[in-house]
């Protein structure tokens, strides 16, 4: 659906995006992740035909965004950052205006406005002025606007920014519901959001792509040397003996806890999952175990690691 090849965008004296390439398949939900100023918004503005690239090619549904911009814009629903709206219009009036601009006939626009009003939960405020709505409702109006002409590709720039947790959940649900029938490209700097809603994540930093994969694969990449924590009640010496003998353990650390319990932090060799081995040992000796966890790297760790490599090394 989206093919970006060697895209570069330079503003006067500053490179916002430098030589990035990625692809998004039809029906996918892809997250653009990165700190502020990483080039996410610029990439999205180029995709939505608002800005032109300095070099490189960008195609949406096989069409060039610069040469066939009209055709591309017909296929895209775009919600910019901060979701700008005409505050002096009523919700329904605004959506109709937008539908007409996007080339829908009068009748079709009326039908579609009804559908998206329902879909985005705007029915009860459809006659209110946009300026009087709460932030959450305004965000939904922006989403409804992006959806109103049934675009193949939906581009959302930070759709959940400034919302309360309930509203964030509602917006995420909505985005999730769009997958399959629509292709969605959503940018965010909130990690759990990408983890929860996206099939694939593209991490950007200073105008470059650092990593692009599914959230699971990125986690796998990180979990290769993840520690396992076990809290076991057993004689300390026996415990140490046991870990020394276990070939799969590369490093271990045993510290005393309350009562008879010891906390064992074990680092596996070659990214193995140690948990079954530990359980087998505990059962064999007849010890008591009250906790067994693997430090699961969240996307957050990956993000921090790829976006701030220097600090990670220093720490």
């Amino acid at each position: 659906m989206i093919e970006v090849a060697h895209l570069t965008k330079r503003y006067a004296g500053r490179t916002a995006v430098s030589d990035i390439s990625f692809e998004v398949g039809r029906g996918e939900i892809v997250g653009l992740l990165g700190p502020n100023g990483a080039g996410k918004s610029t990439t999205m503005r180029i995709l939505s035909c608002y800005l032109a690239a300095t070099s490189g090619t960008v195609r949406v549904a096989g069409l060039d965004v610069f040469r066939q911009s009209d055709e591309v814009r017909r296929r895209i629903g775009y919600m910019p950052e901060n979701n700008p709206l005409h505050y002096d219009m009523r919700v329904r009036e605004y959506l109709k205006f937008r539908a007409r601009l996007k080339g829908l006939t009068r009748r079709r626009s009326r039908e579609r406005v009804d559908v998206v009003t329902e879909q985005c939960g705007l029915t009860e405020v459809s006659r209110r002025m946009i300026g009087q709505l709460s932030k959450g409702y305004r965000q939904r109006v922006g989403l409804a606007d992006a959806l109103v002409h049934e675009p193949e590709l939906i581009i959302l720039d930070e759709p959940t920014i400034g919302l309360d947790p309930n509203q964030i959940r509602a917006v995420r649900q909505l985005i999730k519901g769009l997958g399959g029938t629509h292709t969605v490209l959503v940018s965010t700097h909130i990690l759990p959001e990408a983890e929860m809603t996206c099939h694939r994540v593209v991490i950007m930093y200073e105008g470059r792509i650092l990593a692009a994969d599914t959230p699971e694969n990125l986690q796998k990449l990180m979990s290769s040397n993840s520690q396992v924590i076990a809290e076991i009640a057993a004689p300390a010496t026996e415990l140490r003996e046991c870990w020394i003998q276990m070939a799969e353990v590369e490093q271990f650390d045993v510290s005393a806890l309350d009562g008879d319990y010891f906390r064992c932090a074990l680092t596996p060799r070659d990214g193995l999952d140690l948990r079954p081995h530990i359980f087998a040992v505990v059962r064999e000796h007849g010890w008591t175990m009250r906790e067994l966890t693997r430090n699961r790297h969240s996307l957050e760790d990956i993000y921090v690691r790829v976006t701030r490599p220097d600090e990670e090394d220093a720490g």
């Binding site: 503003y11 006067a12 503005r45 939505s48 035909c49 608002y50 800005l51 032109a52 610069f66 009209d70 055709e71 814009r73 017909r74 895209i76 775009y78 919600m79 910019p80 901060n82 700008p84 709206l85 005409h86 002096d88 219009m89 205006f97 937008r98 007409r100 601009l101 996007k102 080339g103 606007d145």
Partner: protein
């Protein structure tokens, strides 16, 4: 065409649903009313062979209205949308840059025309009470309005261009006011200079908008100012279009 209509309607709604629109209208009506009073005073003093429209023009308030209202009308067109960010949502719909520029200009033009409507009853009232002592016929009114619209079109296209250049409405208004005042000064210099045969003087004489407007209020429609003002408006609209397009090659 359909998109253009939708856009124009939206822009007009922007004018008529905002307080600033009514402030402009009120200010214009006030100045027109004032010129109406001046006109009556002039007519009371002595009967004149001039058409009422020319007496109105001689009060000079026409220029004040033109110079002050056009920057205020046009300042919001692009600058406000750029400031609030709706320009981005607008330009990412399948509308062409030309449609946007023309729709905004058309809306400003319609608003400007509506603003001048109160002049009509003023003229008719004078006509009603003075009978034949002051000449006024539909042709003169028509040519007066033609002049008002042509000059207004030029100043509004200037304002459009200024508004497209910036994100701040204040800056847009200042730019168009300065340019408008410059045009006014140019016309004034052209008006002041004695008739000479040098080619510079002849070129400058083309920009004597005072004389041209005086012709219009007398009921004389000369094709030269029509073509000049029309092409100046088109030129500034073309510049506006280039400015709007520039985001794609900057």
């Amino acid at each position: 065409m359909r998109t253009w209509c939708t856009l124009t309607r939206r822009e007009l709604a922007g004018f008529f649903l905002s307080l600033s629109g009514y402030i402009i209208l009120a200010a214009a009506v006030f100045m027109m009313g004032y010129s109406f009073v001046l006109l009556l005073v002039t007519l009371q003093r002595e009967p004149t062979p001039m058409p009422v429209t020319e007496v109105f023009y001689n009060t000079q308030l026409f220029w004040l209205i033109l110079l002050l209202t056009t920057p205020v009308i046009t300042m919001r067109l692009f600058a406000l949308e750029k400031f609030s960010g709706t320009f981005e949502t607008l330009m990412t719909t399948p509308v062409s840059d030309l449609q946007v520029v023309l729709a905004k200009f058309a809306a400003a033009m319609i608003f400007y025309a509506v603003m001048w409507l109160p002049l009509l009853p003023c003229l008719l009232i004078v006509r009603h009470f003075t009978y034949d002592s002051a000449a006024l016929d539909p042709g003169t009114i028509g040519s007066t309005y033609l002049g008002i619209l042509l000059l207004g079109g030029f100043f509004l296209s200037l304002g459009c261009c200024a508004s497209a250049l910036t994100r701040s409405q204040g800056v847009a208004a200042m730019i168009s006011l300065v340019f408008g005042a410059s045009v006014f000064m140019l016309a004034w210099i052209a008006d002041q200079q004695p008739a000479r045969a040098s080619w510079q003087a002849q070129v400058l004489a083309c920009f004597n908008f005072f004389d041209q407007m005086r012709d219009f209020v007398r009921g004389v429609v000369d094709t030269r100012p029509v073509v000049l003002l029309g092409s100046l408006s088109l030129f500034f609209l073309f510049l506006t279009l280039r400015v709007v397009e520039s985001r794609r090659w900057k």
